[in-house]
């Protein structure tokens, strides 16, 4: 489009532009498909096909071997929607998400502001805040399991408490949330840090000349410039948090937690599939979960579109 506009203004380039258009059409048609083919093959095999298969299995009473499955219609879905344990597990995942997402967003922002504004030792702050994210979830979870264990744990020892973090249902999820904040905030921190570095200095200089103080500069420049990245951080964190599994399972010694209080949706699905061998039922739950996530993603898109229209 830009080329054709130029053609009008600069006739000397007209010939080039037509040549480009021809080349573009030819080359594109010949090779475009081959660029995306390898990815699409993998994607079809390991994303689309399992999704379709999941839909099919969810209408059957398949077990783990996949043999002798018969069609049961909507029975699995009916059972899942009436399954109190499923709603509990979904509630735990949602509760975890509600606790983690706002905390991580605020914490990541504050850490990034700190690391961005200290003039010395930038590499050290980056390293310290990001390093937990480099640990495998199981390792980070094992560390906190040990720190939280009553008796031998250093957390109670250091703060002079005797809290049954891992064995009481009112603390178990909180322990997992604390561990998750420590372990994953580094990733969002890095996104914020990169975004802060991308804000042009002249904006701040101009504001200073106009007499804006640090607070004004923060509210009128930094926060608006970070709006996109905040949206991204929140979206990524919601998706990641709803998929809670690793840390909860490891911290609770591969159990569903005290009085099932930390059993997440993913954990319950896998239990049904791999422990109770109810692949059909587990597939129905997977599809329900997929629909929930899709609804959230669509709601986000819709909100974004409305906001864009609002600002125009």
């Amino acid at each position: 489009m830009t080329t054709s506009a130029q053609t009008v203004v600069v006739p000397a380039r007209a010939r080039t532009a037509t040549a480009v258009a021809t080349v573009r059409r030819k080359q594109g048609f010949q090779h475009g498909g081959w660029f995306v083919a390898p990815f699409l093959a993998l994607f079809a095999l390991f994303v689309i096909w399992p999704l379709l298969r999941g839909v099919y299995l969810s209408f059957t009473d398949a077990n783990i071997s996949g043999e002798g499955a018969s069609f049961v219609g909507l029975d699995n879905y009916r059972e899942a929607l009436n399954d109190a344990a499923m709603w509990d597990a979904l509630g735990h995942s949602a509760y975890f998400t509600l606790l983690v997402v706002p905390c991580i967003t605020v914490l990541a922002f504050l850490l990034a502001m700190l690391a961005h504004n200290i003039e010395r030792g930038k590499w050290l702050w980056r390293l310290c805040f990001f390093v937990p994210f480099l640990l495998p979830s199981t390792v980070a979870a094992n560390m906190f399991q040990w720190l939280f264990t009553q008796g031998i744990g250093l957390i109670n020892q250091t703060f002079g408490l005797d809290t049954p973090w891992l064995t009481d249902k009112s603390y178990a999820m909180l322990a997992i949330v604390i561990m998750t904040l420590w372990w994953t905030v580094g990733f969002s921190f890095l996104l914020y840090l990169a975004a802060l570095q991308g804000i042009p200095d002249h904006l701040y200089e101009a504001a200073k000349l106009d007499g804006a103080n640090a607070w004004h500069r923060m509210v009128h420049i930094t926060l608006p410039m970070l709006r996109n990245i905040t949206g991204l951080v929140i979206a990524l964190q919601i998706l990641a948090s709803l998929q809670l599994f690793d840390q909860a399972v490891v911290m609770m010694d591969f159990s569903p937690g005290p009085e099932l209080s930390t059993r997440s949706f993913v954990q319950y699905t896998l239990e049904q599939g791999f422990t109770s061998y109810r692949v059909g039922y587990a597939s129905a739950m997977s599809i329900i979960f997929f629909v929930i996530i899709a609804v959230i993603a669509l709601a986000r898109m819709w909100l974004l579109r409305n906001r864009e229209e609002g600002t125009r």
Partner: protein, 285 residues
């Protein structure tokens, strides 16, 4: 000589606000490093001392017993090699296919492109956690349970990476490619000699994050392998070690061994990682 002088000049003096911020930074960093330090100290205790009540931070008797015990069982080396094979394969495949696909979607035309792009974007919502059971039965059907293939291939179709590179390739000026086309270069030649070199920081970021994700992936290898000989580092440590009753000193030593390679990589490449994040447009500019 001149360079040292310039460096000294460019250092700004300590202002009160910088001192306060630095102190806050030190305090917050201490909070972040403490659990890792605690794990390190625990790994240097004897098993008996690690389970002592009340606990204490520093070992009374420093010993490398836990590290040696882990080493001697031989499993850890095995897991390490498995992790390395899986992560290196996943990273190379992901980099190749997502760079090609990102470019294909951003800069070429073919029938059904927008529909396919829409389908790929909906894949952002699907992970092994969401579709674990059906994905497992699919992989089982292909006969890839308890194989390297089964661990590697399902991790190789991340829509997110395609999206990141797609966004980046869209930002490359078309004129660069067009000049080459007119000189007679084909699509592939343009891709490898012009586009890929330009994309190096983005590819580095995608590669590093894929490597981190794959090295640390627990759920998928956990579902697809039962064979302890095929386990990756995070799985071996979490599942096998716990089943023998928890030996805290060994567990911490193993955990640090699993975490160390990535920490070393990050120490060396952190500048490129931050630059890569900014460059890919992940940061939203």
């Amino acid at each position: 000589m001149t360079s040292t002088q310039i460096r000294i000049k460019s250092r700004r003096p300590w202002t009160p606000s910088q001192i306060v911020l630095t102190l806050i930074g030190v305090a917050v960093s201490a909070v972040f490093v403490t659990p890792i330090a605690a794990a390190l100290f625990t790994s240097l205790k004897s098993e008996a001392e690690a389970a002592e009540i009340p606990p204490h931070w520093l070992p009374e008797v420093w010993t490398t017993q836990a590290w040696r015990a882990l080493w001697e069982t031989g499993n850890v080396t095995n897991w390490f090699v498995n992790s390395l094979v899986v992560s290196v394969c996943v990273t190379s495949v992901v980099l190749t296919v997502s760079a090609l696909a990102g470019y294909g979607f951003a800069r070429t035309e073919f029938r059904g492109k927008s529909v396919l792009m829409g389908i790929v974007m909906s894949g952002l919502m699907i992970s092994p956690a969401v579709l674990g059971v059906p994905l497992f039965t699919t992989v089982q059907q292909m006969g890839m349970v308890d194989t390297y293939w089964g661990m590697i291939l399902p991790q190789c179709a991340p829509a997110a990476m395609v999206y990141i590179l797609y966004k980046f390739f869209q930002g490359i000026p078309r004129e660069l490619e067009e000049a080459a086309f007119i000189d007679g270069a084909g699509r592939w030649r343009v891709f490898f000699t012009i586009v890929v070199p330009l994309a190096r920081p983005s590819l580095a970021a995608v590669g590093i994050f894929t490597f981190i994700a794959s090295w640390n992936n627990f759920l998928w290898p956990y579902m697809v392998t039962n064979n302890p000989d095929l386990m990756t580092m995070p799985n071996g440590i979490a599942t096998v070690m716990n089943s023998y009753g928890i030996q805290w000193a060994q567990l911490m030593a193993g955990g640090l061994m699993a975490g160390l390679p990535l920490i070393i990589v990050f120490v060396f490449f952190q500048r490129q990682i931050v630059a890569g994040v900014a460059h890919t447009g992940l940061a939203g500019q």
